[in-house]
């Protein structure tokens, strides 16, 4: 049987027995409708005619979808009317609050769910620099941008931690590579699904990325750091490292889904008090992928 979650997670996961029970059920499919391609009522009519039942959710443009076929086989998908996307993955974008005309860097953008969501909220006006280091993942990113009919995105291929200094951005989204624990499920045979094994030191990579992202912000600009993992070493630990190195502030915000504060210690390490301003989303409460979101501001007078 799978030993998941590890015992040291029990103190911060709310109602851990419910979380463990929830791991045995597949996550429901969610979609975001894309009004850049067509008016919302037209999209809804087409989906209904394709046999898709939609349930409205407290996140704008997001619906829980039920239909007899794969969402990727719908005509609405091929027309770019919909983007299948985990409900909680909207939270980093909502925290960043993109507005028409903004200059935004999406540092690890592929496959483009958050990039296209931001473009939608910006009304396809402004500029998003969608960056990803992996050529293979850029193919998926560019295909999704084209499918969604977006014209305000520029694609670049830099290693995030080496993204060139030059102009500074109004807002930066750093949806960092992570262990993906928020996606974990337990299969019928008791095995852990979607788990990633390897020796990569993810917290070290994430700490390099968050410092670079912060340095690329304009004074007064906003950085959102997010992951889809529960692991505090990849979440609060990374934000804590930034707070020690730079004059950064963590802002609280009110998400439209049930959330918990960031934790203040893990495995004997006490984190900076500000990390409790981060937001945690758990799979069994959101019925979606687990997420961590930190909204960070660079003060106008940065020392």
């Amino acid at each position: 049987m799978t030993q998941w979650p590890p015992s040291e997670y029990f103190y911060f996961i709310p109602e851990p027995e419910k979380y463990i029970e929830h791991l045995h059920h597949p996550l429901p499919p969610y979609i975001r409708i894309n009004p850049i391609k067509a008016p919302a009522d037209k999209i809804m009519h087409l989906l209904k005619d394709e046999g898709v039942f939609l349930k409205k959710l407290p996140v704008d443009f997001f619906y829980k979808a039920a239909c007899g076929k794969e969402l990727g086989n719908l005509l609405g998908y091929h027309l770019g009317y919909i983007y299948p996307q985990a409900l909680t993955s909207a939270m980093p974008v909502i925290a960043l609050n993109p507005k028409p005309g903004d200059l935004i860097l999406d540092m690890c953008a592929a496959p483009g769910g958050k990039t296209t969501h931001m473009a939608q909220l910006m009304g396809d006006q402004g500029t998003i620099v969608a960056n990803d280091r992996s050529f293979g993942r850029l193919t998926a990113l560019s295909a999704n941008i084209k499918r969604c009919g977006i014209t305000c995105v520029v694609i670049t291929q830099y290693k995030g931690e080496h993204f060139p200094y030059g102009e500074h951005f109004d807002k930066i989204l750093l949806d960092a590579p992570c262990s993906g624990e928020g996606k974990y499920r337990i299969g019928r045979d008791g095995r852990l699904l979607f788990s990633i094994s390897g020796r990569t030191n993810l917290p070290a990579i994430q700490k390099g990325l968050i410092v670079r992202a912060f340095d690329l912000l304009k004074p007064g600009g906003t950085l959102v750091y997010s992951t889809c993992t529960l692991n505090p070493e990849e979440n609060e630990g990374v934000v804590d490292a930034l707070l020690k190195k730079r004059n950064a502030l963590v802002l609280g915000w009110n998400p439209p889904l049930r959330w918990h504060r960031g934790i203040d210690h893990f495995k004997g390490h006490a984190y900076h008090a500000l990390v409790t301003g981060c937001r945690r989303f758990y799979p069994h409460e959101a019925n979606s992928v687990g997420f961590f979101v930190a909204k960070i501001v660079k003060p106008k007078q940065n020392g």
């Binding site: 391609k37 009519h45 005619d49 998908y77 027309l79 402004g126 500029t127 014209t151 520029v154 694609i155």
Partner: protein, 163 residues
């Protein structure tokens, strides 16, 4: 290729006034013109090594210009001519066989690319049933050649086949 050629093509072939493209700027590679939203940040990002910028808008195919699928989907609703309304059955035939017979009709001005407008479902009002899929090539006398990307054509078949 430059902006003037691109905008002139869309005006002459599809009747879209050049003013519709005023909020955009155009960039070209060897055989493709991209359309990108104008932004006050364009100069700011000029120093970056860009993989691409915006949406593919028009391609040079041999000595002809071809509107891209994504541009037809995004801007098709602005077209006033050379748009054909195609129903589910002939569209399935077009996607499966690659070519069907097609009466020229008053909206087609002559041989060249036409924008495919799927009437689906046929019972809906015009506003709700118009879905711009991409382009096909109309040739005299009465030939319509599928020019949807293969993945899109396969997707349309999978989506519309009920059996």
């Amino acid at each position: 290729m430059d902006k003037q050629i691109a905008v002139k093509y869309w005006e002459e072939r599809f009747g879209i006034p050049p003013a519709s493209f005023l909020p955009y700027e155009f960039h070209s590679s060897t055989r493709t013109i991209y359309i990108a939203r104008q932004s006050r940040h364009c100069r700011v990002i000029s120093s970056l090594n860009k993989d691409f910028m915006g949406l593919p808008f028009l391609r040079q195919v041999t000595r002809f210009l071809k509107p891209t699928t994504v541009a037809a989907q995004r801007f098709g609703h602005l077209a006033k001519k050379n748009v054909i309304e195609i129903k589910r059955k002939p569209l399935l035939s077009l996607c499966k066989e690659g070519e069907i017979r097609w009466e020229k009709g008053p909206t087609i001005t002559g041989p060249g690319y036409v924008i495919l407008n799927l009437a689906y479902p046929e019972s809906h009002t015009a506003a709700l049933r118009r879905h711009f899929l991409g382009v096909s090539l109309f040739l005299e006398p009465g030939r319509l050649l599928c020019r949807l990307p293969k993945s899109m054509a396969k997707g349309v078949i999978a989506a519309l086949e009920r059996e």
